[in-house]
Amino acid sequence: MGEAARFSFLSLLRHGLGKAWDRQWRDAQPKAAYDVVIVGAGGHGLATAYYLAKEHGIRDVAVLDKGWLGGGNTGRNTTIIRSNYLQPESAALYEHALKLWEGLAQELNYNVMYSPRGVLMLAHTRHDVQVFKRHVHANRLHGIDNEWLTSAQAKAFCPPLDVSQGVRYPVLGAALQRRGGVARHDAVAWGYARAASAMGVDIIQNCAVTGIARDAVGAVTGVETTRGPIAARRVGVATAGHTSVVMAMAGVRMPLESFPLQALVSEPVKPVMPCVVMSNTVHAYISQSDKGELVIGAGTDAYTSYSQAGGLHISRETLEAVCELFPSFRRLRMLRNWGGIVDTTPDRSPIVGLTPVPGLFVNCGWGTGGFKATPGSGHVFAATIARGEPHSIAAPFSLDRFVTGRLIDEAAAAAVAH
């Protein structure tokens, strides 16, 4: 990117002395028509718009959001990034994303704070041990780093972890992906938004899509919104938990159920957690932000819901598990607790591709684990929309796998994959 770094030590100093920061992207007003309309200004929708403009020269693009940019799951998740999925199709998709993460700050000229500090997945039962070892072997056959650690090695990698064996969830070992880690979720949305806007993409907030318009043969002609109709022959839906609702506007039923998923942060403390720790069996996901807060992910509610809250007993169960795994965290107080609505598929794999409606494309089903895929998802979805046929990495993730039966089973031990 030819432009000079807008965020440098000097610019920080200047702004610290009172100069106001400029807007990072244009606050666009909707035009009557676009080449492509993307519904949903989360990370996936914004990344899609960015790659449409950057790699396919399609710049007459609008990204519409009913709320504010990055206010959905993108701004609500625990930001765990890894690519050690079991099935070859998934490993290819998430590894594609991980490779993009590695260069994303340079690509966007925006610090997304990608921090490959290692993701440690704890095995608490014999079944976990077998499943994770199978993951390690499968990943290594695909050239994806993932290694098995004994409980003593896990303790050495993550010193606050209690690996004594007499507890309810003993750590029998762990799978470690060293290239896994975290990134700053808001910065990912802002970085893509700024770079897309600079190439001419209109990002339109507070603009809910209320209908999908179609012509006599059923092909998409545009969308109805709370800010008037917008014409477009190609519409890409990237609305996460609300995908069933949006797709119903075009008469398409989806293999999705929407569940609240919660996260919490503690009061900030000095650096104590050197890595990310995940325990699928007890639904605890934990890392430490640069501000010092422990970022903790919990499980989903048992029932479908669009209330962005979630039951208190769900987060309590997670905190109980965290206190057992990390006895030194017991006295920490929690500062904030929130929920996001995640869209889960029967096989716990995403859906990226064409739909039965000509001109309508969908990117959804990322469920509890799509933040890590953001750059890769946007990249392959943009190619799919631009060419009108699935990108080769996206092809197995078609909607019609729920007709053909070619499911991509990533449900693993706990049916959760952050």
Binding site: H242, S244, V245, A248, R253, M254, P255, L256, E257, S258, A302, Y303, T304, S305, Y306, S307, G311, L312, H313, P346, F402, V403, T404, G405
Partner: protein, 90 residues
Amino acid sequence: MLLIPCPWCGPRPESEFRYGGQAHVVRPPDPSAVDDAAWGAYLYLRDNPKGRHAERWRHLHGCGRFFNCVRDTVSDRIVASYKPGEAPPS
């Protein structure tokens, strides 16, 4: 935590129940008579509405019986519960 009205036992805390997904999903009586699209729809497609939802629950740690609820998926308020075989209230 929801307070769920079991039609037999009355209101009980959610932890006594198991969720059973969308209610009134009918298995095609002769699976080999339907095509892949119809069978896939039966297995995988769900309404997943934002609003009124008829759903199955089982009072696992109680009477053990299945029943249905109508719940608003925005407020999580349960509007009605009814026994299997009964039609959802309008």
